[in-house]
């Protein structure tokens, strides 16, 4: 075997035994570092999982949503507005939708209510998000619930519940199905029902809806068509699907970014601790290095030894941290960070997240955690390697 390779194997072997000899100190550093990496990795994994989940769910959303605005607030939009859009070439369909919120005073919960027209082109996408086989479009008085909403309404085993109309009369509804867990990020508090039922619940006239959903033939024309709609209907707000997706990304990104700043501060504190630990050579360590040098170890060999020690601690902490983070996010539903990262109503989604662990993500984490650790230990390692060999002599 090549002598240079054998030499590095020998130094690695010695580094392992040195780490074991100082296992209390190194174990402490490893655990703290692994905890920091676990936190940073969990945030990154949960953010990318949320963004991906949101992207998948929003793929079924209409390409353009038109809302009527008055005095800066949203109002019901007349269906006649849809007729004025027929002149725009490229629009496949214009469908009314009810999107509102129902506050359940008894349970203190806020549900998102979605009234879906039977002819909505992408309603089948919504139908696919339901567990089991549910007849779609939904029949009158039948609803599909998000899991958190179903749990809050305490429906098991009954399938019937009622909400109050604005005139305080009761509107009965029957549960036809529950949304699949993987869509829970956006469906946790959702109650989907036929458009007519949603109108009935909120007391919205048949000639109106909360939104008009516009479907276009060519997705590349979404922005152009949205601009044309804005010109034809100047009192409306026109939202495109990419804009909504971007909003979700920004929301998750902001929350994650805020938390990441806090965690990077923890990482910086750890780097200072690592510096302190690595630079404060104990008398035994100084003596050991002096002995090794006088026995023929070069400064570069001592540097390699310190790098192996640092690299092994950092590498092991990285593997431990990222593995724990993966289990925390995938199997633990990111329990530690859920309150920070998801949910904007009383009902928190219980997520089933499958973060995409790509090489890019791993390298990014490596760059933010292991590299700073190795960087802050460079000078202490150099200092250690510069211990004069003659200090092993009696003086």
């Amino acid at each position: 075997m090549n002598a240079a390779f054998e030499k590095h194997c020998n130094i690695l072997d010695y580094a392992l035994s040195a780490l074991w000899r100082r296992r209390l100190k190194n174990g402490g550093i490893l655990m703290v570092f692994a905890a920091v990496i676990f936190l940073v990795a969990s945030f990154q994994l949960v953010t990318s999982a949320l963004t991906e989940t949101a992207g998948k769910v929003l793929a079924a959303a209409p390409e353009i949503t038109v809302q009527r605005m008055s005095a800066g607030r949203q109002e019901a939009i007349p269906l006649a507005y849809g007729d004025r859009l027929h002149e725009i070439f490229g629009i496949r369909a214009t469908v009314p939708r009810i999107w509102g919120y129902y506050f359940d005073e008894v349970r203190g919960a806020n549900y998102t209510v979605l009234g879906v027209a039977p002819d909505m082109p992408q309603a089948d996408g919504l139908g696919k998000a339901v567990s089991g086989s549910v007849p779609w479009p939904l029949g009158q008085g039948r609803v599909v619930l998000g899991r958190a909403a179903a749990a809050t309404l305490e429906l098991q085993p009954r399938q019937l519940f009622s909400f109050f109309r604005p005139d305080l009369s009761l509107k009965p509804m029957t549960v036809a199905g529950v949304f699949r867990p993987e869509t829970e990020l956006l469906t946790a508090d959702l109650i989907a029902m036929p458009l007519a039922d949603a109108r009935d619940l909120f007391g919205i006239p048949a000639s109106q809806a909360t939104d008009l959903c516009v479907y276009v033939a060519n997705p590349a024309e979404i922005v152009t068509i949205a601009e044309k709609i804005s010109k034809i209907l100047p009192d409306t707000r026109v939202l495109t699907r990419p804009q909504i997706q971007k909003t979700y990304q920004v929301v998750f990104g902001w929350r994650s970014g805020f938390a990441s700043v806090c965690l990077l501060a923890a990482l910086a504190a750890f780097a200072i601790l690592a510096w302190d630990k690595a630079s404060g050579l104990s008398p035994e360590e100084r003596r050991e290095i002096a002995i090794l040098k006088i026995l023929g170890w070069e400064t570069s060999d001592i540097l390699a030894l310190r790098f192996w020690e640092g690299g092994l601690v950092a590498g092991l902490a990285f593997l431990l941290g990222i593995t724990l983070a993966y289990f925390h996010v995938v199997f633990g539903g990111a329990a530690l960070f859920k309150p920070v990262l998801v949910g904007w109503s009383v009902l928190q989604p219980t997520l089933s997240l499958a973060p995409p662990v790509t090489l890019k993500e791993v390298l990014l984490l490596l760059a933010f955690t292991v590299l700073p650790y190795l960087a802050v230990t460079v000078i202490p390692a150099w200092r250690a390697a510069s211990v004069p060999a003659e200090s092993a002599l009696s003086g």
Binding site: S17, I294, W297
Partner: protein, 225 residues
């Protein structure tokens, strides 16, 4: 001559307020297969002299040639390479790493040379047999007796088969029995062809029959009586 020093001066921290002149124009020649004792009080410059002979650093001025190589011309890295091929060190208190096993201590000089584990085991085994410490091979060095410890230190100094053995106050912390035992091993090594330089002011060393020459060192100079 295996070791030749000519007008060697060593100044520590040259040009600074804490400048110290440790050696002044020392000239010395040591022939192969001889045993020489450097004798002098603490702070006399013995260890600095030993460091130069041991290729730990080059002199500030003068000429030092060890095993045919002039030290002043060798950059630090090559000084180390030359040291590990030429010199075996035995320290005061032996400087054995107590947490390592006896065998691990002995093979320490071989690690940066890229010697394979098998070859290391063989070479250490032969030396442990020679010095009668094979039965302690896997013992932590911190748990063996003083006599065994000195043999481990000797084995470590010999593992690279260097022509020169340097011993720095080797008997300072040994009783007279172990000191005599140590000197006997040194005598055997000299008979086997090694050149040995010992710093000591212990009469058991300076007056030992195997010592060819005692060189006095005082105030950084060779002390001529």
């Amino acid at each position: 001559m295996l070791i030749e020093l000519e007008n060697v001066t060593k100044v520590y921290n040259q040009g600074r307020s804490n400048e110290v002149q440790a050696l002044t124009e020392v000239s010395l020649a040591i022939a192969p297969q001889t045993m020489v004792c450097l004798k002098g009080p603490s702070g006399s410059g013995k260890s600095t002299l030993l460091s130069i002979i041991g290729c730990i650093f080059a002199p500030t001025s003068g000429r030092a040639t060890i095993a045919g190589k002039p030290l002043a011309r060798l950059p630090d890295r090559f000084l180390t390479v030359h040291r590990r091929a030429t010199i075996g060190f035995i320290f005061q208190r032996f400087n054995i790493l107590p947490a390592l096993s006896v065998a691990e201590n002995i093979v320490l000089p071989l690690l940066p040379l890229g010697v394979s584990p098998k070859a290391r085991r063989e070479r250490a085994g032969a030396l442990m047999d020679q010095l009668a410490i094979r039965h302690r091979e896997h013992f932590p060095a911190g748990q063996i007796s003083g006599g065994e410890l000195q043999r481990v230190a000797i084995a470590r100094a010999l593992i690279n088969d260097p022509p020169i053995i340097l011993a720095d106050e080797p008997t300072a912390h040994l009783d007279s029995r172990l000191s005599r035992e140590f000197m006997q091993i040194m005598a055997d090594l000299k008979a086997a062809g090694k050149t040995i330089v010992i710093t000591s002011h212990d009469p058991l060393v300076t007056e030992h029959a195997a010592i060819d020459r005692v060189i006095g060192v005082k105030d950084g100079r060779i002390d001529v009586p």
